[in-house]
Point group: C2
Chain length 198, copies 2
DNA sequence: TGCCTCACATACGGCTCGTATGTCAATAGG
DNA sequence: CCTATTGACATACGAGCCGTATGTGAGGCA
């Protein structure tokens, strides 16, 4: 168990830096976040940062990986709790929209992340959210519920629609009202994939 | 006609700076683009930049407005050339996807723009593309072709789906093949809005 | 016990943006 | 025609940031 104080302290430093980065990136944005302030806020200096991570971008990578994992887990539970696979797909969409209401997810995963790290579809875990959606659609096609479309295409467009909805809701004056409209529209769009209308 | 050499030269400087910015922002990205190099590339200095624009962000605003106008005009012509309104909507989607294949549009309008300037739906011209889509959907509902959904919600999700498709195609190894898949999936999704299946 | 490793801290250089100041041509007015 | 003023830039400067090269002191192994 005792792995020595060295590695233990290092893991703790990494965790503290990632935690501080989640706050700083979410509130100030990636570009405006100062590494001096960030490291000082957890009692370290930039030396620790560049020892634990490649560079500022590397820290963002670590943050993105962590959040991506959390989002994937949430999507998984939502889907598993749905009574049918089709309802699971719709629930995933709704959950995705609601998650994107979190300012942290918005700023880091939807705005700065893509701008700094490039296309999210090439992120490690291959954007776990997308992978889950694709698998669900594949099952639905095998069951004859959904038209035989290209699964990746359908998954990406559905995710894109949900994402756009999320950004809309987040910026709205009356989020609850807009949220229901967004989810309704998402269900209508998704129904276009069905073999026969519900 | 002769408006004086002063104003004439100023307009020319603005145009040159915006042109250089389109190149620099598209190739290097907003953050990495140096204002020193950018201004020098058209024979000016940063003094001219800060005299003609508010700041670096102001220059990006000008660039975004220009590109947004060009995109809106293209969408308008595409829609007007379609035989029916519904086909016009689908053509708009396809055109949007194809436009987003342009690296300049991708980098500036889809990646850096949102990250630096904030939610695109609040941009001037209110993202002219969206406005056009919304109007088309409203007409289609009045004609009884499309279900009575919330027009803004439907427009935003359709745009989001097209956008996601575009990013996917752009990053693909085999763009032409992926492009057809993306457009197919877009048509399937959009058909979910139809009152009765085609 | 003595040396070595390594997780940091410190110091430095180069670059960036934004502003405050300087300058010279174009215009307006007498 | 000559002068005064405006304004479109150029130049100079300060503050801040990132990344790296170097220093240092505490853990771990022999």
């Amino acid at each position: 168990m005792a792995k020595g104080k060295r590695a233990e302290a290092m893991a703790e430093s990494r965790a503290k830096l990632i935690g501080a980065a989640r706050k700083a990136f979410a509130t100030q944005g990636y570009a405006a976040a100062s590494m001096d302030e960030l490291t000082a806020s957890v009692g370290l200096t930039r030396g620790a940062l560049y020892h634990n991570f490649e560079d500022k971008k590397g820290l963002l990578w670590a943050v993105v990986e962590q959040i991506d994992g959390e989002m994937a887990e949430r999507l998984r539970t939502v889907r598993e709790q749905a009574p049918t696979l089709w309802q699971g797909l719709l629930a995933e969409g709704s959950a995705y929209i609601e998650m994107a209401l979190d300012p942290e997810i918005q700023r880091i995963m939807l705005l700065d992340g893509p701008a700094v790290l490039g296309d999210p579809s090439k992120w490690p875990g291959e954007n776990a959210c997308l992978e889950i959606t694709v698998r669900t659609i594949r099952s639905l096609i095998e069951q004859g519920i959904v038209k035989p479309v290209d699964v990746e295409a359908a998954g990406r467009l559905l995710n894109g629609a949900a994402l756009s909805a999320a950004l809309w809701v987040a910026a709205a004056d009356d989020p609850p009202d807009v949220l229901t409209k967004a989810i309704d529209a998402f269900r209508e769009l998704a129904s276009g994939l069905l073999r026969k209308a519900v």
